[in-house]
């Protein structure tokens, strides 16, 4: 029952966050007219709204796609953070782990510096491929090293390989950046800070299939992660193949992270803070932590982006700054009360 209640709370939180986010913004649209215009979109509901055509364009073409993209990105990042934490049996693991963030950063940097000619359109696919490539290299290196040495159960080796790959990619990125023009440096820096200010419906459509596949794959493996939590030997005794489960979940989480960062840039802390809050709400079992993280992460990022675009309105704050400003104190709070946060 606790699980179902927590899921309900998370769903209500997400819907409320999206509604608030849709109602506020730099354009100062009348909230009542905005609600009317939104409700008018529901089938069989017809409400007059005082919004001008320009206001409607702001609401439906600029604000709403941003809210929806934020929800998707936040949900994917938090869910993959939780998934990684399960796979590696480590509560300090983030969605950017295993070279995912560093790979995305390197991909985006290469696109900006060397393929600037095709415009910013090159950045999302490059970041996407970079992120997937980073995880693939880390996974293959870690798995090979683990086989050769027979060290531990492979989990620690994978993590270390991820850290090494991350450092290497970051170093290459720094080298490329150091050799590039001033304007490119600024563009890369903006991307690294994370921003959803250019969100469009097209991006939402692009991200949806990847989101659907990765969410389905991860959520279906909640039970497996619970078994994995007691150890590889025990899992094997129960007829499970830990290495296979690990590969599937890592692949799904890598896909989720890659499609999220492709459009948002690097957004930290969502993937680590949200799963811990989910654990406190719904207990340590992954069958609840994963869906709770998905919904909670979506709501969290929608709220963070709402702050990003209202605190300094009509100017904007990079969303990465907002999530870190909220995330860092939240993380300290979690560390202070570890007795409640079993993993």
């Amino acid at each position: 029952m606790r699980k179902r209640g927590a899921l309900g709370i998370a769903a209500i939180f997400l819907i409320a966050a999206m509604l608030v986010s849709a109602l506020v913004g730099a354009a100062d649209l009348n909230p009542l007219d905005t609600v009317a215009a939104l409700a008018d979109k529901i089938p069989f509901v017809h409400l007059p709204s005082g919004l001008s055509p320009l206001d409607r364009a702001v609401l439906f073409q600029i604000r709403l796609p941003r809210v929806v993209l934020c929800a998707l990105v936040g949900g994917l990042l938090a869910m993959s953070g939780a998934g990684y934490q399960g796979v590696f049996r480590n509560p300090l693991v983030d969605s950017g782990l295993l070279g995912a963030s560093a790979g995305a950063g390197l991909g985006a940097t290469l696109a900006i510096v060397y393929f600037g000619a095709v415009g910013q359109g090159a950045i999302p696919p490059a970041a996407f491929l970079g992120s997937l490539g980073g995880v693939a290299v880390a996974y293959l290196t870690g798995a090979a090293a683990s086989r050769r040495t027979g060290f531990g159960d492979g989990v620690a080796t994978l993590l270390l390989a991820g850290i090494a790959v991350g450092f290497f990619f970051t170093a290459v990125q720094t080298l490329v950046l150091q050799r590039s023009a001033e304007q490119d440096v600024q563009t890369v820096y903006n991307w690294l800070l994370g921003s959803l200010s250019g969100a469009t419906w097209q991006q939402v459509v692009w991200i949806l299939p990847y989101a659907a596949v990765s969410i389905a794959m991860v959520l279906l493996h909640g039970r497996h992660l619970d078994v994995l939590a007691v150890g590889d030997e025990e899992a094997r005794a129960l007829g499970m193949r830990p290495a296979t489960v690990r590969l599937i979940v890592v692949a799904a989480c890598a896909l989720a992270t890659a499609s999220a960062v492709a459009f948002s840039g690097l957004i930290g802390f969502v993937g680590i803070v949200v799963p811990h809050i989910a654990r406190r709400l719904g207990g340590p079992g992954y069958r609840s932590v994963l869906p709770l993280s998905l919904l909670g992460g979506a709501g969290f990022l929608v709220l963070a982006d709402t702050l990003a675009r209202t605190v300094l309105a009509p100017a904007e704050l990079p969303i990465g700054v907002v999530t870190a400003v909220i995330g860092a104190p939240a993380f300290v709070w979690i560390l202070r009360s570890t007795q409640g946060a079993r993993t």
Binding site: A26, F60, I62, A181, Q183, V185, P314, E316
Partner: protein, 334 residues
């Protein structure tokens, strides 16, 4: 529909050149060897070149006060290294081009500059010293450039990004004094002032207060407020910058705007300084297709101006070309 005709700016440039030519003739009467500001005219006669060279030789040693303090140049620098695109343009415009032996990787104007792999952002002292320079010009003192070159006895002029048009003129004149081309620098500055004044006058004041949006980058959307150098240049036309209401001291005049704000501020002109392929490729066609932007007056009236990004981001002798582009856009307003 008011398509931005290419003949507009072209015609403007022609008038401007004519004005500059008149100025050059007038100054020539005073005994100066004039070369028009933006054209790469090399028509100065051998005689006047020789006389200006001897006059220049007499001017040394010269002490100028650059951003890095007083710099004394003992004799006319025969080997100049420029580490900044604007400085490179300045040097060539005032006739110091033949003295330039190397320019940094970002310098790309005028055509045929001795481009090298040198970087002005992360300068390598040894790599610069290899060119055996007698003067180094840069826009920022990064990586210990000044102290490093000073140890080698090579004077460095730091000519940073300027905040005002007057500072841009002063910089050209200073580079002129430091390289033995003071008279030509003065001619260039006079020509620039006249061209700019003529364009501003021709655009008139009918469109005072028309809101405009200056785009430096898209998603995130960075803009430049009136307090910036570029804002002041557009400010000559009395337009209203939509970034002003947003800019806070902390952003240095370069605020990040939300799309919602840009759209509801209804700018009548959009200037794209991120127009070209290397700088984001946000062409007028791309901007017109941005979701939710179709209701902006500038989009509806085809008043999206794709600028030459280099000219729009530098503070050198090609400023009148930028002013001419802005003037053409202002005149198209209805």
């Amino acid at each position: 529909m008011k398509p931005l005709s290419r003949s507009g700016p072209g015609a403007r440039a022609a008038t401007a050149l004519a004005a500059a030519a008149v100025a050059a003739v007038a100054l020539a009467g005073c005994g100066s060897s004039g070369s028009s500001s933006t054209s790469t005219s090399t028509s100065a006669s051998a005689g006047s070149a020789a006389s200006s060279a001897s006059a220049a030789a007499a001017a040394f040693p010269v002490t100028v006060t650059a951003a890095n303090g007083a710099v004394t140049i003992k004799s006319r620098p025969a080997r100049i290294v420029s580490l900044d695109p604007t400085s490179t343009e300045d040097l060539y415009a005032i006739g110091a081009g033949p003295q330039v032996v190397a320019v940094d990787q970002d310098s790309n104007y005028p055509a045929g500059v001795p481009k090298t792999a040198l970087s002005g952002l992360t300068p390598n002292i040894e790599a610069i010293a290899k060119y055996n320079p007698s003067l180094v010009v840069a826009s920022q003192n990064s990586g210990g450039l000044v102290s490093g070159m000073t140890k080698l006895g090579i004077p460095v002029l730091i000519e940073p990004a300027v905040a005002t048009l007057d500072a841009a003129y002063a910089q050209i004149e200073q580079v002129g004094a430091a390289t033995g081309h003071a008279a030509q620098a003065a001619t260039v500055v006079t020509g620039m002032k006249q061209q700019i004044a003529a364009d501003v006058a021709k655009a008139g004041t009918a469109h005072k207060g028309a809101p405009y949006y200056w785009e430096l980058s898209a998603s995130p959307y960075y803009s430049a407020a009136s307090s910036t150098f570029i804002g002041q240049v557009v400010g000559l036309f009395g337009l209203k910058n939509i970034a002003d209401a947003v800019s806070k001291p902390a952003d240095g005049g370069y605020p990040e705007l939300s799309q919602e704000y840009i759209v509801t501020a209804k700018p009548q002109i959009i200037f794209l300084a991120d127009n070209e392929a290397a700088d984001g490729a946000q062409s007028p066609a791309v901007v017109a297709k941005r979701p939710g932007w179709s209701g902006i007056p500038a989009v509806q009236d085809n008043e999206i101006i794709g600028l030459n990004d280099d000219i729009a981001s530098r503070w050198g002798p090609r400023l009148p070309q930028l002013v001419a582009e802005i003037a053409a856009a202002v005149e198209q307003l209805h």
